[in-house]
């Protein structure tokens, strides 16, 4: 039973029932006095419930037709207190009330409405926005059809431990629904659709309830491990006037974010002892840096130990040119390590074990028998059952259920206290060796990039190098995933700032890349940063309406399509199956490639309002095409260059 109907009735009772009473049809008035006896031969009908005033003839002159203070206005007051900059949405009738309140009562600012063409785009935009800005972005969607469209993107954010502030419209009171579509767009428990991969949800039945839940949702989403949260907005609460007795007790609750949990002091001391005494310690970071402080703290620890860092790139964790960045030598370092410190690792087991995807699946340890493993991850604080993103169970020696970024200063302090003069000498010698390894890796990257330099399709190394040459003097931000171009950006570019790489989708759900790039660029816009997106072709085709969103909202963004004309990962999977079954791979393109016809991505983008060029297949044409597109982006608009590339 929704409180909504009660409030509506109360309101109507107070505002109009005197005049309406005279308009109550006889049949309704009779029903209100109790059921009539069933006529002979007719089935007994259920006893009629007391009929609300809302169900009277709506043509009555006393019916209130307007209100100056709908519930949605108060909802906007609460949202403004949360400092939400944007709300992304594909418009929907189940949240028309708050939509109108945002753009008129709220002045379409804090939050500003961002028009999206698909709910998956709304969520993915908010996902990447957080990773640039460090605070959530709001999303509005239908509680039914919209939330189902949004589900995959919500799952990505959940897996990536990123907060998204989701609000879904719904109409709980069945007697208040418009016949037809509103029934199809209503649901008993909207949040059930995504409850397996959201951290918390609520379905407020009053405005005071909304206020507390809205602030609570923000706080829960922002407490590590961060995840999306969902508030269901009842249509009546949004649209109906704020009842006078409710208005008197409306207030916006104070938001106080929870401090991120730090590791236990005993565990911190033990971790520091192991690290200081290790001959070959290795630090591995994945989703470590949730704020700009994360990278600085990791640099401080690495330098205190003079230990190598392997960045698994879930976040922008460590400067790529730092001499202790040995990400390129991960296999060798892991194999030789005697202590491994894992910081917010998605997959610690996979970091220290190899797994072979063959007819007989096999695995083997990559580490020495006595290597000590230290894990710090907030994910240990909150794990759900159904979806299996938690990976295989890692057998570690020290497990801190804590936020790694918050715990690093304590570990670094403990390391410094334990470091003797002898150890400091050993650390300095280690630093020299690691600097040499780092330099060799950078040289090897340049040498390997030179192979196939003039090839067509264009090599991904050439693509990365051409891009870098034109952005390296800007305040740039790579807002795309980077895994499908053989990591060339990490090998050739100089990453040093927290917003220069945003990690990946989390759940590996294709379709994240394009909207995430637009969301990241939206966050970068007010900072005047140059946003760059290396865009997969298959990902582009999921919900290309997001390019219109970029054009409409004038979001500066250079997109370079890595057009290998295939769902390439799947090509390789089918090859694996075909060869395993000894049938040859000549038919592996069926169902996996995007050819016949080739997609004209530039033309698609032009149709959605972007400046676009391509396809570019001659490597010598790439630089000039990028230069022309960047001129557009530097004027504040999105632009796209379609580049026909090598597969990886």
């Amino acid at each position: 039973m929704s409180k909504r109907s009660v409030d509506r009735r109360n309101f109507l009772k107070g505002a109009a029932v005197t005049g309406a009473a005279a308009l109550v049809p006889d049949a309704v008035a009779s029903a209100a006095q109790g059921p009539a006896p069933a006529a002979a031969g007719q089935g007994q009908r259920p006893a009629a419930a007391p009929t609300s005033a809302r169900e009277i003839d709506p043509r009555g002159e006393a019916e209130p037709l307007t209100t100056d203070r709908p519930g949605g206005d108060f909802m906007v007051d609460v949202l403004k207190s949360l400092n939400l900059e944007y709300v992304a949405s594909n418009p929907g009738s189940s949240f028309r009330g708050i939509h109108e309140s945002i753009i008129n009562y709220g002045g379409n600012t804090m939050p500003e409405f961002i028009t999206c063409c698909h709910e998956e785009s709304s969520i993915a935009m908010a996902h990447a926005y957080f990773k640039v800005e460090g605070k959530p972005m709001a999303v509005l969607c239908h509680g039914t059809v919209g939330l189902q469209h949004a589900a995959m993107a919500i799952y990505n954010a959940y897996c990536d431990r990123v907060p998204v502030y989701i609000m879904a419209g719904n109409s709980l009171d069945a007697t208040m629904r418009r016949p037809g579509v509103e029934w199809a767009h209503s649901v008993q428990d909207a949040a059930a659709i995504v409850r397996d991969f959201t951290k918390w949800d609520d379905n407020p039945v009053s405005l005071p309830h909304f206020a507390e839940s809205a602030v609570r949702a923000y706080k829960i989403a922002m407490t590590p491990p961060m995840m999306p949260t969902l508030i269901v907005l009842d249509g009546g609460l949004q649209e109906d006037p704020i009842p006078s007795e409710v208005a008197a007790r409306l207030r916006v609750p104070k938001l106080t974010l929870a401090t991120p949990p730090q590791g236990d002091s005993g565990a911190v001391a033990e971790a520091a002892r192991l690290l200081v005494n290790a001959q070959n310690p290795v630090i591995v970071a994945d989703r470590l840096a949730r704020t700009p402080a994360g990278m600085a703290r990791l640099v401080e620890l690495a330098e205190a130990l003079q230990a190598p860092v392997i960045d698994q790139h879930g976040r922008m964790n460590f400067p790529s040119k730092h001499p202790l960045n040995l990400s390129e030598s991960a296999g060798q370092l892991i194999a030789n390590a005697d202590v491994i410190l894992g910081l917010e690792l998605t997959d610690f087991w996979g970091t220290v074990n190899g797994f072979r995807d063959s007819l007989v699946r096999t695995s083997r340890s990559r580490i020495r028998p006595n290597t000590k493993l230290i894990s710090i991850t907030a994910v240990d604080l909150y794990t759900k059952s159904n979806f299996q993103d938690f990976q295989r169970y890692p057998e570690v020696d020290v497990a801190m259920a804590a936020d790694a970024e918050a715990t690093l200063p304590a570990i670094t302090e403990a390391v410094k206290k334990l470091t003797t003069a002898d150890r400091r000498t050993a650390f300095a010698e280690r630093r020299t060796r690691l600097e040499q390894m780092h330099a060799r890796a950078r040289d090897a990257a340049r040498a390997e990039a030179a192979i196939a330099w003039d090839a067509s399709p264009i090599s991904t190394a050439r693509l990365a190098a051409e891009l870098w040459a034109q952005i390296k003097t800007d305040d740039w931000s790579l807002v795309s995933e980077s895994g499908n171009t053989s990591g060339w950006a990490f090998r050739l570019w100089d990453f040093e700032k927290s917003y220069q790489h945003l990690g990946d989708s989390g759940g590996a759900g294709v379709g994240y890349g394009a909207p995430a790039a637009v969301g990241g660029a939206l966050a970068n816009k007010k900072h005047g940063r140059l946003s760059v997106n290396i865009q997969g072709d298959g990902d582009f085709l999921y919900a290309p309406g997001v390019w219109w969103t970029a054009a409409h909202h004038q979001i500066p963004l250079l997109t370079v399509v890595h057009n290998n004309r295939a769902y390439h990962q799947e090509v390789m999977h089918i090859q694996r199956m075909a060869n395993r079954h000894q049938r040859g791979i000549t038919r592996a393109a069926i169902g996996t490639t995007i050819t016949d016809p080739n997609v004209d991505f530039a033309k698609v983008a032009q149709g959605l309002g972007l400046y676009a060029e391509g396809p570019v297949s001659n490597p010598n044409d790439l630089g000039p095409a990028l230069r022309r597109a960047l001129a557009v982006v530097r004027k504040g608009q999105p632009a796209l260059v379609d580049v026909v590339t090598q597969p990886r």
């Binding site: 030179a450 330099w453 040459a469 390439h568 390789m572």
Partner: protein
């Protein structure tokens, strides 16, 4: 235990196919580079290793300067890592020899120092 046994078997098999000490490794059968280029594409080698055999995140570099024929052909038949096995049934030795000729034909890369965009 099964895992350990398989790893050991792979090691032994590898050892047995090494050329005895003091003997030259077997030379590659004759192949045609142009035919090999077509077969390199038709058999999907380029999907992981790139059209030039340059390698990347999905597959090792094959060219320029490919592995000796014995090592490469042995690996193709019984790969040790994630590469799918190419048996004689799906890729005859003669075709593999053409592919090898193609890989051998790939020119050496220019020195990075000669490419302005690759300067540190």
């Amino acid at each position: 235990m099964l895992i350990a046994a398989l790893v050991l078997a792979g090691t032994v098999a590898g050892a047995q196919t090494q050329a005895p000490a003091g003997q030259a490794a077997p030379a590659a059968p004759p192949g045609n580079a142009e035919t090999g280029k077509k077969l390199f594409v038709a058999n999907g080698c380029y999907q992981c290793h790139g059209y030039e055999g340059q390698g990347g995140s999905a597959g090792a570099r094959l060219a320029p300067r490919p592995l000796p024929w014995a090592a490469l052909s042995r690996y193709v038949r019984r790969p040790a890592n994630q590469m799918p096995p190419y048996t004689e049934k799906v890729l005859p030795d003669a075709d593999l020899a053409h592919i090898y000729a193609y890989l051998q034909s790939r020119p050496a890369a220019a020195a990075p120092a000669s490419i302005p965009l690759l300067q540190p």
